[in-house]
């Protein structure tokens, strides 16, 4: 069964329609990358899946459950805050700006959800948090506060925090775009390892190399619509839609991240 099903999902802010008839099915274990120009609605779509935003039309299903409502006969009953919080446990979110809890250490960031939401014992949660931090290569930073960590380290803690809730699907909203170029690699590496563990992932990203190497399917969005969906090779090497062709060629001619990396390492050698 599909983990996520979007049926004609519409979302608008006032008069601005941001998502227009989104139809998408994401299967268990699938890694899906969403690409598209700025303002195309990638973030909004992820936030709708996680119910940080409410959709205005269509329906969104996670694990076969309608999000935001209970079906009563032929009618819908809006879920209350507690029920929505419960539904959210199925989805984990990694934010562009990390959003680590700044008053807690890395380890406490990871264990807070299991203790407060899942009701795990603090001791068990703490030891599992340490294991997860180890998995993202940060066991030695367990006692550090977010302000004491680099951007890349913060994002890896954020991934561990999301994993700690054992969600059915992990949502990533441009997890590397707030990072310095030399820190992008460490986060992508962790994400790749997480993807290989078989968890369902939806990743809004500008990292086309990651999309090509890791994802099973790539979704191209523009202007609030899904324009083209397909295997990474088809989408990235053999685009059909003119909008996608334009998008890819614009990225190809822009200064590539690799060149930034080369510049950085050259600088490093020079110093």
């Amino acid at each position: 069964m599909a983990v996520i099903t979007a049926m004609n999902v519409c979302k608008s802010y006032g008069h601005l329609q941001v998502l227009k008839d989104i139809n998408l099915e994401i299967q268990k274990g699938e890694v899906v990358c969403i690409i598209g120009p700025s303002g195309s609605g990638k973030t909004t779509f992820l936030r709708c899946i996680n119910q940080l935003e409410k959709i205005n039309g269509g329906s969104l299903w996670v694990n076969g459950n309608l999000t935001g409502y209970r079906i009563v006969g032929e009618r819908l009953l809006e879920l209350d805050e507690h029920e929505i919080a419960r539904q959210r446990r199925a989805t984990g979110m990694v934010f562009q700006r990390f959003n680590l809890f700044s008053h807690l250490t890395a380890q406490q960031n990871v264990s807070l959800g299991p203790v407060e939401v899942l009701g795990q014992s603090p001791k068990l949660a703490a030891s599992q948090a340490l294991e997860l931090l180890d998995r993202v290569g940060l066991a030695h930073k367990a006692g550090a506060y977010p302000a004491e960590l680099s951007g890349g380290q913060q994002q890896r803690v954020a991934i561990a925090r999301a994993l700690a809730m054992k969600p059915d699907v992990l949502l990533f909203d441009e997890p590397t775009s707030a990072l310095d170029p030399e820190l992008v690699g460490e986060v992508l590496k962790v994400m790749k390892e997480v993807a290989e563990s078989g968890i369902t992932m939806v990743v809004a990203t500008h990292e086309l190399n990651f999309a090509r190497d890791v994802s099973h399917r790539v979704v191209f969005m523009a202007d609030g619509r899904i324009v083209e969906v397909g295997k990474p090779d088809d989408i990235l090497r053999n685009p059909q839609e003119p909008r996608l062709q334009k998008f890819l060629s614009a990225i190809a001619t822009a200064p590539r991240p690799e060149s930034a990396d080369v510049a950085v390492s050259a600088l490093g050698q020079a110093l």
Binding site: N50, L52, E81, H82, A85, R86, R88, R89, T91, G92, M93, F95, R97, N99, L100, F101, S102, H103, L104, T105, L112, G113, E116, V117, Y145, P146, A147, A158, R161, A162, M165
Partner: protein
């Protein structure tokens, strides 16, 4: 200082050679700060003036010493401290409810919160104390259906009147402090808390409030100190706190200044202790945020 020069590593910039200096060992020239000296002179002069004035003044210092530890003064002090704590607890509870109510999705709740602040911030504290104490004129009896009624005069003792009056007034001010604290926390924190499945209440308790504390504590400490002194207003409704006590003493023996000094000393002791407590609380909630020095 050594005159020897080090030729710096070639940076590919220019051929300049720079003197070999180590800031750790080099002898330093003291900077002459005439302003500092003037400040010091002024401060010392002022202190001498004050001490001199008090020495010459007609103050019977032995009387001050005698009443400083008088049992009746201690009782007044005890009531001052007790009233400060009680009314601050009432005020903080109300303030938190009002501040959270401001962010509610329910417009009735928001409206109640706003009206409360409007009413209690918009009228003088002294007037509010008198109103509470004279409640009996408006509501002769207070009670709940099924539980029974009591005459308001019996219920509204000076203590109860002062606690309600001071507490609700402070609550209106402190709700704004707490609201500012909640607003100071990035919305991303709230979203991250929701994303791991927390409800609004849990997110507030576990994520938002602990971070807002850093911003809330300094002005609340201020309010606490202010309240210590505001309790003296309750003397007008016959609450026997410290000022009330020393006044009733000097009405008999006419040692006005001496007894006011006694009260001042004790107020300073209490507020100093509160400042120290505030310092420790700030350290406790400042974790993860650096020192706050600029």
């Amino acid at each position: 200082m050594s005159a020897e020069t080090l030729s710096g590593p070639r940076l590919g910039v220019s051929e300049v050679t720079l003197p070999g200096i180590d800031v750790a060992t080099a002898t330093r020239i003291r900077r002459f700060k005439p302003w500092r000296l003037l400040q010091l002179a002024l401060a010392v002069g002022f202190l001498v003036f004050i001490v001199n004035a008090f020495a010459k003044a007609q103050i019977e210092w032995p009387v001050v010493g005698q009443y400083l530890f008088a049992p009746s003064v201690f009782i007044g002090l005890g009531f001052t401290v007790l009233m400060t704590v009680v009314s601050m607890v009432i005020g903080l509870i109300v303030a938190v409810m009002v501040a959270v109510g401001f962010g509610s999705h329910n417009f009735v709740v928001r409206w109640i919160a706003k009206s409360y602040v409007w009413l209690f911030r918009g009228t003088p504290l002294l007037l509010q104390l008198l109103l509470w104490f004279n409640m009996a004129l408006v509501f002769p009896a207070i009670g709940l259906p099924g539980i029974g009624y009591k005459p308001t005069v019996e219920l509204m003792t000076p203590f109860i009147g002062a606690a309600i009056g001071l507490g609700l007034n402070a609550g209106a001010y402190m709700s704004e402090i707490i609201r500012a604290g909640l607003l100071s926390v990035d919305t991303g924190q709230y979203e991250a808390a929701k994303a791991i499945g927390m409800t609004r209440g849990k997110a507030l308790r576990k994520v938002i409030f602990p971070q807002a504390m850093r911003v809330i504590i300094p002005p609340i400490g201020n309010e606490f100190i202010g309240m210590t002194k505001s309790t003296s207003l309750a003397s007008v409704i016959g609450f026997s706190e410290m000022l009330f006590v020393v006044q009733s003493i000097y009405f008999n023996n006419f040692r006005v200044i001496e007894l006011l000094i006694v009260a001042a000393v004790w107020y300073l002791v209490v507020t100093t202790l509160l400042s120290i407590g505030q310092h420790y609380l700030e350290q406790r909630f400042g974790r993860g945020f650096g020192t706050g020095r600029h």
